[in-house]
Amino acid sequence: MKILIFGLITGMLFGFFLQKGRAARYDKQLGAMRLIDMTIIKFMFSAILVGMVGVYLLKDLGMVKLDVKSTVLGANILGGLIFGIGWGVVGYCPGTAAGALGEGRLDALWGMLGMLVGAALFAEAYPALKATVMTWGDFGKITLPEVLGLNHWIIIPLFVIGGLLLFRWFEKKGL
C-alpha cells in the first residue's frame, strides 16, 4: 500500500513539473520533431543530467541499485522507429498523454485509448516477436561505462558538459 502511495505522489510531482515546463503538449512534442522548439529536449536532458549525477552518487554510496533494460538491437531499433512514427502522428508519448489530458487536452484521451489497443495487439504478437526480433542483437543489460571500460565519473562529467553546451546552443539559436 505504501509503495502505491509513493507512486501516486511521485507521479503527481512529475506531472506538475511536466505541465509547468509545458513539456506535455502536442505543440511542444511536434515542435521538437520539427526541430523548431526544443522545450521537451531541454526538460528531458535537464532531468537526465540531474538524475544521472544523483543516482550514480547514491549507487556509489550503496544506497540504490540500478535497474537497466536489456540492449536488444532488433527490438530497441525497430520498436523505437515504430514508436517514433506513431509519436509523430499522435503527438504524445504514454507519460505525456496522461499529463496533457490533465491540462484538458481531450485528443490525448483518444491517443491513450489507441495506446491500450496497441498494447493489446502487441500482446497478441508477443510470442512471434519474442522468438524473432526480440532476440536479434541481444547484448544483455549493458551500460556505457561497461562497454567503454571507463569509470562512470569520467563519462558523467562529459555528459554534463555536453548537455550544457547543447543548452547554450539552443538559447543562441532561439530554439
Binding site: I5, L13, M33, L81, I82, W87, V89, G102, G111, A119
Partner: protein, 173 residues
C-alpha cells in the same frame, strides 16, 4: 523559444523532475516508466471479457494485470498536471492542438481518429522497444544504459521523419 505566461523554465522544471526521480529511486528503488501500465491495463480489460484466454497469454503472464507503483505513477501524472494547470488558470478543454489546427483544420473527429491510430502505433513500438521516452529515454539514459540511447535516437528518427511528412520542413506553420 519565447515562453508563454505562467510557465516555468523547462530547464528548471526538468531538473526538479530529475531530483524527484532520484528521491523516488532512493525511497522505493523505482525508476520512472509509463508504457508497462498500458500493457497491464489492456490485460485487465481483456480479463473482463475473456478471463481464461487472457490468463494463458504469455505477455499477460509476464505483465500481470494489476495496480502497481507505475500505474499509480501514471495516474499521478494526470492529477499533477491537472492541479498545476488549474491553480495557474491554464486549464483548457481542447480537442484539437493549435499547431494541428493551423495545418489540418479544427475538425475534432479527424484529430481524434488520427490520435487514436497514432496511439496504437506508439504503444506497439514502445512495448517492442522495451519502453517509452520515460522508461528508456529518461530512466535508461540517466543510468548510462546503452538501450536507452539506442531507443531514444530511434524514437527521434521516426518522429522527425513523420513530422517532416506531416508539416514539411522549416518553420512555416
Amino acid at each position: 523559444m519565447k515562453r508563454d505566461e505562467g510557465s516555468w523554465s523547462p530547464y528548471l522544471a526538468g531538473a526538479l523532475s530529475g531530483l524527484v526521480l532520484v528521491l523516488s529511486v532512493f525511497a522505493t528503488n523505482k525508476f520512472f516508466g509509463s508504457s508497462t501500465t498500458f500493457a497491464r491495463t489492456a490485460g485487465a480489460i481483456e480479463k473482463l471479457f475473456a478471463p481464461e484466454r487472457t490468463a494463458e497469454m504469455a505477455y499477460f503472464v509476464k505483465y500481470v494485470p494489476k495496480v502497481d507503483w507505475q500505474m499509480m505513477f501514471v495516474i499521478g501524472i494526470f492529477l499533477g498536471a491537472l492541479i498545476a494547470s488549474i491553480t495557474s488558470g491554464d486549464f483548457r478543454l481542447k480537442a484539437v492542438p493549435d499547431m494541428w489546427e493551423r495545418r489540418f483544420g479544427s475538425n475534432t473527429l479527424n484529430r481524434g481518429i488520427i490520435a487514436f491510430c497514432g496511439g496504437i502505433i506508439v504503444m506497439f513500438g514502445a512495448r517492442l522497444a522495451g519502453g517509452c521516452p520515460t522508461g528508456h529515454g529518461l530512466s535508461g539514459s540517466l543510468q548510462l544504459a546503452v538501450s536507452g540511447y539506442i531507443a531514444l535516437i530511434s524514437f527521434f528518427i521516426g518522429g522527425i521523419v513523420i513530422a517532416r511528412m506531416l508539416y514539411g520542413g522549416g518553420r512555416r506553420p
